[in-house]
């Protein structure tokens, strides 16, 4: 699999580190309940199809990327810098 980094161009998978689903956002640590925090840290969907996920280009530009990938076919629809992503774009 190759990912088209918006900064560096098409690069091999081994240059990247996977984080996972991009959608969870951290609950406010002071106000969060234990179960909300547990959800955020441990619980993930395992969808079949499109998923917006976070990848880190550690051997390249060292930027976080939001990658919209089909988990069934590995087809990548879009890659944008994580700080420019629209939340919930894949949903």
């Amino acid at each position: 699999m190759r990912i088209a980094c918006p900064h560096c161009g098409l690069r091999d998978l081994q240059e990247f580190t996977y984080l996972g689903d991009a959608s969870p956002s951290r609950p406010d640590g002071l106000a969060a309940t234990e179960s909300a925090m547990f959800d955020y840290v441990y619980l993930r969907e395992n969808p079949r199809g499109l998923l917006e996920e976070l990848w880190f280009h550690n051997a390249g530009c060292r930027a976080w990327l939001a990658v919209c990938r089909d988990t069934l076919t590995h087809t990548i629809q879009s890659v944008v810098p994580a700080n420019k992503r629209k939340k919930g774009a894949a949903a």
Partner: protein, 206 residues
């Protein structure tokens, strides 16, 4: 009391103990030549929310524009190489005046001196691309990687930054930069990969 030399620390060249002048591998006409680049100044520049002020400063102090894409802007004395979004590598061919330059630039960027933290080589020759292709997934073909292009990638799991400079008399030329602590590992990969083409090594005595 007389000042005595008590430290065990001694200056050491960036490729000392690894690169030695001579030819490695095939003894015919070398297909690739390496020149160690020594005595250069390096620093990383990171612009905060806006890099326009930094751009004006580099233009004024160095006559160079900040590259906005993976490119290297090089003059005879200095260079600015794209190193990620809003980050650049500053290089100076000589360290004279380098610390003053960094002080001037620190007004508009977070500056980190890296002169002793990097090892640099100039690689050139007819087969230089064949050697780079063994290590990198980046396409360095003439058409895909013209003079001035830069890339951040990894060779044999070692993080590298490299860019293409003006062609030399022996063909395409690249300058390549690695973390100094990885110089030994990198050299071992390079020497093994370049040997089949005839690998000529020159140590810069600067």
């Amino acid at each position: 009391m007389d000042k005595q030399e008590t430290s065990i620390w001694r200056p050491r060249r960036p490729w000392a103990g690894f690169a030695e002048a001579g030819q490695i591998g095939e003894s015919r006409e070398p297909g690739i030549t390496a020149v160690t680049l020594e005595g250069l100044g390096f620093a990383t520049l990171i612009a905060g929310t806006s890099s326009e002020k930094l751009e004006r400063a580099t233009k004024r102090l160095l006559g160079l524009d900040l590259p906005r894409e993976p490119c290297a802007a090089l003059s005879d004395t200095h260079g600015l190489v794209w190193s990620g979004p809003d980050q650049w590598l500053l290089l100076a061919r000589k360290r004279t005046g380098f610390s003053d330059l960094l002080v001037s630039l620190s007004v508009d960027a977070a500056v980190s001196e890296q002169s002793h933290g990097r090892s640099a080589l100039r690689l050139s020759g007819k087969r230089v691309r064949d050697v780079l292709a063994k290590g990198s997934m980046v396409d360095v073909h003439q058409a895909a990687f013209p003079v001035g292009t830069a890339a951040l990638t990894s060779f044999a799991h070692i993080g590298v930054q490299f860019w293409r400079t003006q062609d030399g008399p022996d063909g395409a030329a690249f300058e390549i930069l690695i973390a100094r602590s990885m110089a030994g590992s990198f050299w071992s990969w390079l020497a093994a990969s370049a040997a089949e083409f005839g690998f000529c090594v020159t140590i810069d005595q600067a």
